[in-house]
């Protein structure tokens, strides 16, 4: 699974819910008419409920860590959520003919903020560093699949060990961030706290737990951007408190994953830029013990009542009737969840028990401790699954690291998790047999074949239909179940323009300008 377990847990906790009676529909971005062309100057304040642990390029390519890295280093390539296209970023181009041999062209004369050249050797140095096991880099799993060689200061030839037309996605996140080699060698372990990159901003100060202040990088290649002089990242854990700060004008871009604030913001005349993410808030099923049997898995799928969960825990938010939302390009009627059918489930379970002669089935439902929303959902699911006799569910709340341990080691029957990430290639990592994040032991030939096709085929139509077949198969085999589509809302006052959702909870700070 792309997102490091700890940040997913945090993301779920971030989804703190208040049971608001007020009705609120899902509002698409109400784009105000652009008020003239962009103006330079001003301070832009972004706020979310947690903060990055380090700004070291090798370790920041995960979940919440992405923000500061993108601001300081800029990404080699940028993935536009709306169009689904991958555009050039710090690099000029990244092209391939056969999906195996790729050529990375860099912008000539590009330098880091410490004056040293941003050239192919720098890229090679950073990618090589990611492979060093001591750095425990989450990007290592992608870096291992490729070899590279410096051709000339602005060109790097990359060969993928296997045909993979989605490799360019790797350069938008995992291998996207390039830091100044001289600074890395000079600072060593402390580099993570005082990074040197070529991106739109440079790190000025970092009061952990409260705020990080970044200022414009004068030598950024894409003048006149960034428009704002200063970017501030504020950490305000409680959603309602963050919303109060937004209304009080202390925050310009507020990231939130709970729908109700978007509605309240629109009511208050603010702009909401939102983007659907892959998957949703739900749980993943492992394949051990009784769960190896498809009948048991279908029975479980038939017992979950999305309606009831949403009404109780996320009132007013749209219910996820299937894997992909209707408005998503990958939507397919086949990806709808199975109908709720308690008798059917009871029959399936009885058949299974008579077939295998096993007694009551007991499943563990693992979740992160400390979040009332998650524990309420868990208690609801427990009561839903226990409507049939012969099935008992034990709720196991684990704090942060113990949860991560259970996740990575697959020591669970059902575990709270969201797919996270934006690019469908994440499905490859999580559900392809042997995928680097496939810790639930899921293995399905149809899914493998479809997902491999997405890598080997260069034809977008083929890739799209491959994803659809994979998703339908995932739903059919009940690999994963959720009741609420994952989405990110970036709320900003009317005078802030150019806000675009990027990665999961971040945006493109260099594109934003403030109308004074």
């Amino acid at each position: 699974m792309r997102i490091r377990p700890r940040s997913t847990a945090v993301a779920c906790i971030g989804a703190v819910v208040a049971l608001l009676g007020s009705a609120c529909g899902s509002g698409e971005a109400s784009s105000l008419s652009p008020a003239g062309d962009p103006v330079r100057g001003g301070t832009l304040v972004y706020s979310y409920n947690t903060e990055a642990q380090s700004v070291d390029p090798a370790t920041c390519a995960i979940g919440i860590g992405v923000g500061p890295c993108q601001a300081v280093y800029g990404a080699l390539l940028d993935y536009d959520l709306e169009t689904g296209e991958i555009e050039p970023g710090m690099a000029e181009s990244f092209t391939t003919e056969d999906g195996k041999a790729w050529t990375l062209k860099l912008r000539p004369g590009l330098t880091f903020s410490d004056g040293t050249p941003f050239d192919a050797a720098a890229v090679a140095f950073n990618w090589g560093r990611i492979l060093d096991p001591a750095l425990l880099s989450p990007s290592a799993s992608v870096a291992k699949t490729i070899d590279w060689e410096v051709v000339d200061p602005t060109t790097l030839s990359v060969t993928s060990k296997e045909v993979n037309y989605q490799l360019d996605f790797g350069l938008t996140e995992a291998l996207a961030y390039i830091a100044s080699p001289t600074a890395i060698e000079a600072l060593g372990a402390d580099f993570g706290n005082n990074p040197v990159g070529a991106g739109p901003f440079t790190l000025t100060s970092w009061a952990r737990g409260t705020e990080m202040i970044l200022d414009r990088n004068p030598t950024y290649w894409d003048q006149p951007r960034p428009y704002v002089d200063r970017l501030v990242l504020k950490t305000i854990p409680a959603d309602d408190q963050r919303f109060n700060a937004l209304q009080a004008g202390e925050v310009d871009v507020m990231a939130v994953t709970v729908q109700k604030y978007a509605a309240r913001a629109e009511g208050a005349g603010m702009k909401v830029t939102s983007a659907p993410l892959l998957g949703g808030t739900g749980f993943r099923l492992s394949h051990r013990g009784p769960l190896a049997d498809p009948d048991v898995r279908t029975a479980i799928a038939k017992l979950i009542d999305n309606e009831q969960i949403m009404n109780a825990v996320y009132p007013g938010e749209p219910v996820a009737s299937g894997f992909t939302p209707e408005d998503s390009p990958l939507y397919d009627p086949g990806s709808a969840w199975p109908e709720r059918d308690v008798q059917g489930a009871q029959k399936l379970l009885d058949d299974y028990r008579s077939r295998t002669g096993s007694g009551d089935i007991e499943l563990t439902y693992v979740l992160t401790a400390g979040s009332p929303v998650l524990s309420q959902t868990a208690e609801l699911i427990q009561s839903q699954l226990q409507q049939v006799d012969g099935l008992r569910v034990r709720i196991v709340p684990l704090e942060g690291a113990a949860f991560a341990a259970a996740m990575t080691s697959g020591d669970y029957d059902l575990i709270v998790s969201g797919l996270g990430g934006t690019h469908p290639d994440n499905l490859y990592k999580v559900f392809r047999t042997g995928g680097s994040s496939n810790n639930s032991g899921y293995s399905n030939p149809t899914v493998d074949e479809a997902l491999d096709l997405t890598h080997t085929s260069n034809d977008p139509a083929v890739v799209e239909s491959a994803y659809k077949t994979a998703i339908n198969e995932l739903v059919a085999t009940n690999a994963y179940r959720f009741w609420r589509h994952a989405r990110t809302d970036l709320i900003s006052p009317a005078n802030v323009h150019g806000v675009e959702v990027a990665y999961q909870y971040w945006f493109r700070p260099e594109l934003v300008w403030i109308q004074q």
Partner: protein, 315 residues
């Protein structure tokens, strides 16, 4: 005599700190499950695991690891946080001022309320003020800090929306917003301390006011406020000082609930993330710092006590 007392306290301090460190170390050692879970990324390779164990000093025998940690700790290097690579000492020093400010302000607020109320109820025991104070004290003592915090938030922040619900506004953003963000947490923390101080001061005053020297002071025609504040309060102030010192020491480790409730970036929230994130070195560092604070303050109180109270001073 004074040096022997200092030596005795120093020995006690060192031995308690040693014991605290060993206990924390053993506590963290005996945790079930994978100790690197929160650090290793998805699909971590065996080499990564080996490298991680080496870097965080998790290999080697238990005593080796402890003494290497202790060795560097004595030179002030408590190692690096496993997750953020920030040296433990830096992240503690960054968070300590917040907790210290919370603790000291709570104690000061408690004193501000306790001294007048304590003195007056001691002066007129059984009177109106005394009865009201005793009643309120027994009520406050029975409301746990997390409940009190939630109720205060409900009344002041939600209904009256006079104060921020949670969050910490650093001093750099102006005194008023800073103080506003501190009011509710400090009141929540100070509630119990105030009760303790009032009861202590009241009982002390009742006892002191029955002494003869108070009567002879009145016979000399000195004014009642002067007698209360100079002649009666001063001897009682010493035992108040002792309790204050101990409370401050305990508060430094005790603000976990309030900091979590109001999401303040103090040691309390740091320790919660450290423990849930199994960041052993960070936990070890924090517990040591808090224990040092507690023991130092206790020793300080024991040593300064004779200096302040002439009756005990053996000059």
């Amino acid at each position: 005599m004074m040096y022997r007392a200092v030596a005795r306290h120093a020995a006690k301090l060192v031995s308690v700190l040693a014991l605290v460190s060993v206990t924390t170390f053993l506590l963290l050692e005996t945790i079930p499950g994978d100790r690197l879970a929160s650090v290793l990324p998805e699909g971590a390779t065996p080499e990564m695991r080996a490298a991680a164990e080496e870097r965080f000093g998790l290999n080697g025998s238990l005593p080796e690891r402890f003494f290497s940690w202790l060795g560097s700790a004595l030179q002030g290097d408590l190692g690096r946080s496993m997750q953020s690579q920030v040296p433990v000492t830096d992240s503690i020093l960054e968070r300590l001022p917040v907790t210290l400010e919370l603790a000291t302000l709570s104690i000061l607020l408690a004193l501000l309320i306790a001294i007048p109320v304590g003195v007056y109820s001691g002066y007129r025991p059984g009177g109106l003020v005394d009865r009201i104070a005793t009643f309120l004290c027994s009520i406050t003592l029975s409301i746990p800090s997390f409940l009190l915090g939630v109720l205060l938030v409900f009344v002041f922040a939600v209904t009256l929306s006079a104060l921020p619900v949670t969050g910490w506004t650093p001093l750099s953003e102006g005194l008023v917003p800073h103080i506003r963000s501190l009011v509710l947490p400090v009141v929540t923390l100070a509630a119990v301390e105030t009760v303790g101080f009032i009861r202590l001061l009241r009982n002390d005053m009742v006892a002191t006011l029955q002494q003869d020297f108070v009567l002879s002071a009145r016979a000399r025609g000195l004014s009642t406020p002067r007698i209360l504040l100079v002649h009666a309060l001063r001897p009682s102030a010493f035992s108040l000082l002792t309790v204050m010192g101990v409370s401050l020491g305990r508060l430094i480790g005790g603000t976990v609930i309030v900091e979590t409730l109001f999401s303040l970036p103090g040691l309390g929230t740091l320790v919660i993330t450290a423990i849930t994130g199994r960041d052993f070195l960070l936990v070890q560092g924090i517990v040591l710092v808090v224990a040092v604070a507690y023991v130092l303050l206790n020793a300080l109180v024991d040593l300064t006590y004779p200096l302040l109270d002439p009756r005990v001073r053996t000059s």
